[in-house]
Symmetry: C2
Subunit: 456 residues, 2 copies
């Protein structure tokens, strides 16, 4: 018994030393972020000078060049572009949405959903039928729906504490409502905006897809406030008509790029730790929280590691994905090239839930790797990260998950996100400098631990 | 062994039942807050119609009447006013702050600190001596300070994750800097604003106190951006002069009130569970986060319990304290009346850290009561409250703590608070409806548990 004691003491001493050194490194990372952080300064030109940057637009091209230059200026070891063809949908002139009844016309706030066909200059007019879900739609059937405009008005559930769960519970109205309604002969759909604030007078756009073999009908989002108004008026007047005019169209696929910057690993340079955000935003938004925040946090994570003088053993890569919003072609292309180039990604992190105060990380992938990361939770708790239990990664890194790679989503507080998501209110002033930096530091800290200890 | 089994089973079943029933009650409270919450609607008139409400002002009187009426309208069992005499400090006309050097005059953003004497129309001019702390001041001594203006420029430490710790580490410059400088013959002090954002062009006011027996010299806050400018210019020019003109003065104490509303307990009506905020705000601020949020959350906590049909066993009392900002007379008066009326407060909760996303509760008082509350942590975790370890209550309830009462502070996320604290930016639009409601629901949930299980 006594014989073994010195060995045990050494082990304990070593453990304490390494723990205390990890704590010191994390503090060094967070201190650098909070004292000298540059994420907010990066976000300023991306949101206020470049602004909206939907795939295929000039803004997206400018954002590609901006992020290439920023990573070059930080002297990352390599910075390059990955060509990818992306969908090119354009909104055209501003939409008109109008409630028509016998007494008066009321203009309401609508916008076309991304990917939708337009009505063209002749517009579309029809009786409004409000439904809450696809089951109600099926029950109404062709006889009640043929030639009408379907109004999907199921609100996001405000009682979900995680607002992404509320989003997940409502978003099928937006993503597949048009095709569901087209099955029964509807001529267009109006979808209640995906937002939790009932007082908004601006619509939230977002992606929709047409199912194969069904008529492609126009689809618009309506502001939550106007959705309540439309619902109220249509209950009073069963013959209420709605006029919409949208000029959107899908052009030929356009050339674009993912932008990649990396710091080469000293020991396992062929093993890649990836951290990412997506460069594209919706056309009506500056995309400050979605996902300018994620982009600058990914770049900042690498900058932080450089700034504290950390030399990674693995290769650390910041990836700005293109086309998360309406096609996810960038993520698919990255995974395709990764296979083609026989790369070995060991983990992929994405920040695409806004740059709010950190709460934790979501994870999907190999159980042993997840368990190892959960063991580091105590190191993150002093910085407010306590939630390591949720599944999930990010849209752009899902193709890597499909190949067995551990994927991690940065998990910030979610309460404010859907006030801005896909809306004109998603502007720089909604981002708090400290919250943004704490997210970048959290990801840099996780990268450090994975790089230092590996995931085996 | 076997004989006892049914009893054990019953015990387990009862525990599960009661746990599951607690979980259900908490969910009912949070659901009501998130679906039908009225805290934000309450905050609107308090901030946008009444606005600034420093003790002794018309705004403070209006806020008293507003909160009395709101609690009456909610049909609380009793609503009454507690008279209290409060300090009555007035700012007078807008301050002038000017950097003077040989080449030009530069106007900077300053405001008098609350409680300070004014310079009067003749102003005060003097050479600027920058110091970081009271030790530097002592080292400089009378020979270097006599007749000069002391510029306290120690920033809040941005690396503190809890921004209240950063505030605590810097605020003595504001609260006692004037008297410290007066010891060595300074004629006035300029204090760097208590804010973490270095780019602000507005000053943060706040309370200062003069130590007995020393000269009362004028004291102003300067915006963080202008503090950096002044520091830079005074390093370049050792003879740099500063001109300030302030017209503030302290008038006779004024009559005011705490406002109390209560729901009578069915079983232990003489035992009081108190939940509170403070009604007064600084004169330059709408006081949305500080502390309109706390006031409406306290009222909302009682409203939520009524709305779900909960009949409390103890008396639940919402208290809007007057004069937290510059004297804490309301808190002292409440405690005094509580003794006089032989009241039995069993716990006092205050929300005075803003209406941001909940993180937990701070607690000071009897260990057994704290331990009991910590045992309920698992019930709060689904709502994001994980921090139950910090000491603390609130300024207004401290006199109750001194009597041995358990005091609890509502603990929200702290990252944004000092961007608004005591500044003109503390407006309604900085408050998020869901974050505000989650705080009210958290306090209502805690009140329910304390009421149901007691603290023994």
């Amino acid at each position: 018994m006594k014989k073994n004691l010195p060995f045990i003491v050494v082990l304990i001493a070593f453990k304490s030393l390494s723990q205390s050194s990890d704590e010191t490194t994390l503090k060094t990372i967070f201190d650098e972020a909070l004292k000298n952080g540059q994420a907010y300064e990066m976000l300023e030109p991306l949101t206020q000078h470049i602004g909206p940057r939907l795939s295929g637009s000039q803004g997206a091209a400018d954002a590609v060049e901006w992020s290439r230059r920023v990573m070059k200026d930080y002297n990352f070891d390599s910075v390059w572009l990955q060509p990818v063809m992306v969908p090119h949908w354009v909104r055209g002139q501003k939409e008109i949405g109008r409630i028509l009844n016998s007494k008066k016309k009321i203009d309401v706030h609508i916008c076309a959903l991304g990917g939708a066909v337009g009505t063209g200059p002749q517009g579309a007019t029809g009786r409004v039928i409000e439904v809450k879900n696809f089951k109600e739609l099926a029950e109404l059937g062709v006889e009640n729906i043929q030639g009408k405009i379907i109004f999907f008005n199921r609100p996001m559930d405000p009682t979900e504490i995680n607002t992404f769960d509320a989003y997940g519970g409502a978003v099928n109205q937006r993503s597949s409502g048009a095709s569901e309604a087209a099955k029964y002969g509807a001529i267009a759909v109006i979808v209640r905006s995906m937002g939790l604030n009932k007082e908004e007078d601006y619509p939230h756009t977002g992606a929709m897809n047409y199912a194969p073999g069904l008529a492609k009908i126009p689809a618009v989002a309506i502001s939550t406030k106007d959705a309540d108004l439309l619902s109220e008026l249509s209950k009073k007047n069963k013959e209420l008509q709605f006029y919409m005019e949208t000029h959107c169209e899908t052009l030929e696929d356009a050339p674009s790029f993912n932008v990649v910057g990396e710091i080469k690993g000293s020991e396992y340079s062929d093993e890649i730790i990836l951290v990412s955000g997506h460069l594209d935003s919706w056309d009506l938004a500056e995309g400050a929280q979605d996902d300018g925040a994620g982009c600058v946090q990914a770049i900042e994570a690498l900058r932080l590691l450089k700034a504290i003088g950390y030399k990674p053993r693995h290769t650390i890569r910041a990836v700005m994905f293109m086309n998360e919003e309406n096609g996810a072609r960038g993520g698919a292309k990255y995974a395709e090239l990764s296979i083609q180039n026989k790369e070995n990604p060991i983990v992929a992190i994405e920040s695409d839930r806004g740059g709010f105060t950190p709460r934790g990380f979501t994870m999907s992938g190999p159980e042993n790797a997840k368990a190892k990361i959960k063991n580091w939770k105590y190191l993150f708790e002093p910085y407010g990260l306590t939630d390591f239990e949720q599944e999930g990664g990010g849209t752009d890194i899902e193709p890597l998950f499909d190949r067995g790679v551990l994927v991690i989503g940065y998990l910030p507080d979610s309460q404010r996100y859907f006030d801005f998501h896909h809306a004109p209110t998603d502007t720089l002033d909604k981002v708090n400098r400290r919250e943004l930096e704490l997210g970048a530091a959290s990801m840099a800290a996780l990268i450090f631990l994975i790089d230092h200890y590996g995931l085996q």
